[in-house]
């Protein structure tokens, strides 16, 4: 369980990006965070993961929090396996190197993301989707039970977006709590148990995706007319957002 109490952040003396926000993420659920560019989605996630302090408010986590960055610019071509293995750092003393147990955990995490065959490949040689999965595996290897993902599908093609989203569902089924940011309302409708819409700096609307992600709210948020429609096939019945771009 991760709880944000009255969090707010501003850089220097500029206006607050957001303020007095509360959010709770439980294990076993997927929360999608939506907001336009520059509203502080990344800042909110980074604060929740304690990569940087909030200006005000507090973040409390009952389990270990794992942060999955959007994309990692690596200078060195570490192997995929070594990348995942680095997730073990928090469980090792400062003077120790990973042992057999750590290698086993890393192998498990890699297997869970279906990338075992790429273990020896240099990380930079992987596609964007594969890299994202490796970074998720790294967070899993750290035994985090709460995963915070910063736009995990942003740079991916449709097939890879599907791979990542299905993995998020699997993770929640396995008992992970997932909080991810996205620009795609469809992704929230497809996988999230709850959506959090940062409509204004002090207005975070949290609830069931179909309740929060209304035509009015989304149209206003992104400044584009949107229609929400029901797409029915014999074996599914889903809500989709259609955007009028032009």
């Amino acid at each position: 369980m991760l709880e944000l109490h009255g969090v707010g952040h501003r850089y220097g003396h500029s206006d607050f990006l957001f303020r007095e926000l509360d959010l709770r993420v439980d294990t076993g659920e997927i929360v999608a965070l939506l907001a336009p560019n520059g509203r502080g989605k990344s800042t909110l996630l980074r604060g929740a993961a304690r990569l940087q302090p909030f200006t005000e408010g507090s973040a409390v986590a009952a389990e270990t929090v794992g942060f999955v960055p959007q994309a990692t610019q690596v200078t060195f071509g570490f192997s995929v396996f070594d990348m995942v293995l680095m997730g073990r750092a928090r469980h090792l003393g400062p003077l120790t190197s990973p042992g057999p147990t750590d290698r086993e955990r890393a192998a498990e995490a890699l297997a869970a993301t279906g990338l075992s065959e790429l273990a020896e490949r240099p990380f930079p040689s992987l596609s964007g989707g594969e890299q994202q999965l490796v970074l998720i595996a790294r967070a899993m290897a750290s035994e985090a039970r709460l995963l915070l993902l910063d736009e995990p599908t942003a740079a991916l093609d449709l097939a890879n977006q599907g791979v990542v989203l299905r993995l998020l569902i699997e993770l929640a089924t396995d008992g992970y709590g997932v909080l991810f940011s996205t620009h795609q309302p469809d992704h929230a409708l497809a996988v999230a148990t709850r959506a959090a819409l940062l409509a204004a700096p002090r207005d975070l609307r949290v609830g069931k995706p179909e309740k929060v992600l209304t035509e009015e709210a989304l149209s206003e948020l992104y400044g584009l007319p949107m229609r929400r429609m029901r797409v029915s096939t014999p074996d599914s019945d889903e809500l989709r957002i259609a955007v009028q771009y032009t």
Partner: protein
Amino acid sequence: MVRTPETTASWAGSTRRLGRLSTATVMVWLAVAAIGAGVLALGFGRLAIPPDVVVRILASQIVPLEAGWSGTEQQIVEAVRAPRVLLSMLVGAGLACAGAVLQGVLRNPLVSPQILGVQSGASFGGALALLLGASSVLLVGGAFAFGFLALIAAMVLSKVHGRRTVLMLILAGIVVGGFFAALVSGVTYLADPEENLPSIVFWLLGSLATATWDKVAIAALPVLAGVATMLVLRWRINILALGDDDARALGVEPAVLRWVLLCSAAVVVAGTVAVGGVITWVGLVIPHIVRMMLGPDNRVLIPACVFLGAAYLTVMDTAARTLTASEIPLGVLTALVGAPIFFVVLRRTQARGWNDA
């Protein structure tokens, strides 16, 4: 989550390969190369001593052996060549490791021990001591004091608005290095051309010609302490090399770790400058060659740098003292040989181990 037994098993040991050799095999060969270079170097010189005699002289230090060699041979190996060979091994291993660590910590392939200004600072301290005609104790002390002053100056200058970025640290190091390089020029300008200028210039060019057991002892402490720290922390260098955000996300506080590693690199570099002057290119060339053979994992890279750095500088120093009748400054030789090697290696392997994206 499904774990397939065979995948786990294959990762029980390190499986990265150079061609068809395992990492462990390459490591053993590098160790053999280092020891072999040392033994051969002890035999090379005006009086050539066969390697088997060298080995027996060395063995006689531990186990009693019937002396099948002359007293001169024993004297040359023990008192003249052994300290010099040991010193070249220490300095070579130290510089190679310092270079590898700095490249990882600063996340930049073109960083060498010259960056951060430590080498320039230490050489200024040493040159100043020589200018003042001070004792060798002061030379060592001066090299250490100014080497650390340079590191601290770079750390202070790189802090802008309470934040320190790695790029700013590199730039601050270049600034500090340039400043101390100018001071070194000032010292050589002020030096008496008859008296202390030759010794200052020769020392600045980098040389192990004046090796003694005392100097071995002086270099051993900082180099061994620094390299030991790097070896102990070598896996954490991987994490630091990912960047500060990733490190924090993985539960590692980057600032403290970076400070410890930069300090150990500075200790090593100052130690090598104190006994051998400015020896360039070793810290740049050796880590790159090792990365290209064994990959970028610092768990393998750092120990491999110990062996290859020791072997390389021993070969270079032996060449420096035996190629011509008079001594070639070692720093000149390492640069002359290092630069083309670096270029060839980079081209042939197309910078494997670095992300060229």
